[in-house]
Symmetry: C2
Subunit: 159 residues, 2 copies
Amino acid sequence: MTSPPDVEQDLGWALGTVLRSYLRLANEAVAGVPGGPRGYQVLSSAASGERTSQLAMAQSLGVDRTVMTYLLDDLEKAGLVERKPDPADRRARRVLLTEAGTARLCAAERGLRKVEEHLLGPLDPDERHTLRTLLQRVALASGERHGTACDVAQELEGC
Amino acid sequence: MTSPPDVEQDLGWALGTVLRSYLRLANEAVAGVPGGPRGYQVLSSAASGERTSQLAMAQSLGVDRTVMTYLLDDLEKAGLVERKPDPADRRARRVLLTEAGTARLCAAERGLRKVEEHLLGPLDPDERHTLRTLLQRVALASGERHGTACDVAQELEGC
DNA sequence: TCAGATGTTCTGCTTCACAGACCATCGTGT
DNA sequence: ACACGATGGTCTGTGAAGCAGAACATCTGA
């Protein structure tokens, strides 16, 4: 007999479980931001100043471009962002935060920071930082190589 | 001015991004298991022998109990699991793996292991182990305290 | 100037999760 | 023994959510 590989060993299970808990809490923390946590991410992404085109934001956040449309519709309706025509490319729109949007973003950030700390409660400060850093590195790396999935597909053939 | 808190600093963003990449790869790795990665988790959970009741499995995997029903329907239709009446409680069913189910589970596990290693590619072996361990601890802890969300809700009041 | 690529939006469709009702069974109390 | 609420499982309806595909405007390169 081989060892009994429990579900809890599975990276996917751990990721899913943590994300579920996070979302459950985050939904309350960002109450008032249309689109929930994703709406917050849009705000945050727009606030950074880079990647203000809708498509760029959609890709970095992992949402469909058609979804980004009505996500922004809601945020605009709530007066948190504005869509200004991009002077350099008249097809594109620059997504800019209004003052209300900036304020709402800050409030949401404060809330989310507490949620994160609560979620990482079982870890000591060093470990929290380590987890954040490692996750971030994996996220950044996996975001870059979108097309590189093929080499894994090849490996999988041999099973 | 405060520092510019980019989206990539957000724990939720990192979790979501990594999980998305994982699912994209895992979907191929578990091809042939009805229900995709979740179907695999059901198999894995049933294989452990504990938590074989549908409800217990549903909770530990974070899916609705009505979803578990048709998830198991599909797995049973594919001949990977059996629903046997629990002798101790005739309301409940024990979910048992068939031989085909066990084989499929092993194959899926091999595939997923490669996916995980590929995903954690940018980390060195020590870091991979650290990330796995820390994530697991957070996942286990956040799974246990389901009702303890209230204290965070209280904290959030003060924002 | 023309052809193809790109950014955005809109329409239609399919999938999917959740709420709620329903049935069978258990456990407890009387 | 019986009645009651709680629990495990299933089914039905409904609403949301995302994606494919087309449409339109605009950019870019030949």
